[in-house]
């Protein structure tokens, strides 16, 4: 029995310390997903917490034959998709923030909040990296919640079509269509805005 399986079994029995070890192991992938989906460090943190709490409550329904990471990310994805759909009915949607004149400033602040993997001691390179992250988030923000989740799972988690389909409750064919549509949308943004720090061929 692997250590992870033991932690899951102990957590199922109500052992919170064992669940804490699972949180430790999966906090980066879960947080990265919520951040890519919501585009805001504060909301991403809340969403990651909520995803872990939901996972703890639903541990009894976890199928041990399925990778825990995949199950965990599926919970986080669905939670973020729900949050993004709720945002449509509020005045301050992510899209509005981007469209606002000070959008880039607020986005830069948001990015500064995020704990980015940089490891680069050069301040200019760090700033450039943060700007790039900001551009990526702006582009992701233009996609529909499910397309955004599909792109995130595909690029940051190297998920296959089948894994993306399984996580988001879609068919493989729908995943292909969504990835295609998302890429076309992102390509159009490059066309419209020209410079996104991209080096076109």
């Amino acid at each position: 029995m692997t250590t992870e399986t033991e932690w899951i079994q102990q957590a199922r029995g109500g052992d919170q310390a064992a669940f804490g070890r699972l949180v430790m192991a999966y906090q980066t992938p879960v947080y990265n997903l919520t951040y890519r989906m919501l585009g805001n460090a504060g909301e991403a943190e809340d969403a990651a917490q909520e995803a872990f709490l939901r996972a703890y409550t639903r541990l009894h329904s976890y199928d041990p034959d399925r990778p825990f990471r995949s199950w965990m990310l599926s919970i986080a994805s669905h939670y973020c998709i729900d949050q993004l759909r709720k945002r449509r009915f509020t005045w301050l949607s992510f899209e509005d923030e981007i469209a606002a004149p000070n959008g880039s400033t607020s986005n830069a602040a948001t990015i500064a909040e995020a704990h980015l993997t940089s490891g680069n001691p050069n301040p200019e390179a760090v700033v450039a990296e943060k700007e790039k992250q900001g551009h990526v988030q702006e582009m992701l923000g233009s996609l529909s919640p499910t397309d955004r989740a599909a792109i995130t799972l595909r690029y940051w988690y190297d998920y296959s079509y089948e894994e993306v389909a399984d996580s988001l409750g879609l068919t493989v064919s729908a995943v292909k269509s969504r990835l295609h549509r998302a890429r076309r949308g992102l390509a159009t943004m490059v066309e419209q805005d020209g410079d996104y720090g991209l080096q076109t061929c």
């Binding site: 804490g20 430790m24 917490q49 704990h115 993997t117 890429r183």
Partner: protein
């Protein structure tokens, strides 16, 4: 060879970026890209997007995330335990009060002769049932009249006891939360 339309070419570009095109399909796509400048531009842009996303690293959570999750989990469990404990205490107190009241009720029914009448006669006919009902109704009225004051006092005592026990319980849970 069948010529490829731009719509299909676009779909194939996406599949190609995922490494899901076989050699023959790739050749057909390349042939199309050689002939269609609009698709070639789209392909270059898609490649650029692909490179950017692949080169963007994961963001790391703040160090406090795990601690916050565990704190929320602990608070939620305490709240759940407090609700279950409070409900159990209230039910227990009410049951205790009813058990205290039960002998008095039975004694009164016996004293009024209702219980023996119920056992010997029984609700055999509708008239008997009606008679039984009216007798019971009268008994309740007499009971309320006779026990109005002591009953009210007993209920008040039970409620006060339940409130006191619950407030003690809530204080204890709060103290536990502060300590944790």
């Amino acid at each position: 060879m069948e010529t490829m339309d731009c719509k299909r070419a676009s779909r194939m570009m996406s599949l190609r970026l995922d490494g899901n095109l076989d050699g023959a399909e790739m050749t057909r796509l390349d042939e199309h890209l050689g002939e269609c400048s609009a698709c070639l531009v789209e392909w270059h842009r898609m490649q650029a997007i692909d490179s950017l996303l692949r080169a963007t690293p994961m963001v790391h959570p703040p160090l406090r995330l795990r601690v916050q999750v565990m704190a929320r989990l602990s608070r939620r469990d305490q709240a759940r335990r407090a609700i279950i404990g409070g409900t159990a205490l209230t039910l227990g107190t009410v049951t205790l009060a009813l058990l205290t009241l039960a002998p008095a009720l039975i004694g009164l029914l016996n004293g009024l002769g209702i219980a023996p009448a119920l056992i010997s006669g029984g609700p055999e006919t509708l008239s008997q049932l009606l008679l039984f009902g009216s007798t019971m109704g009268r008994a309740v009225l007499v009971l309320i009249e006779a026990l109005a004051l002591p009953l009210a006092a007993l209920i008040m005592c039970s409620l006060l006891m339940a409130l006191a026990v619950n407030s003690l319980w809530i204080r204890m849970v709060r103290r536990m939360r502060v300590r944790s």
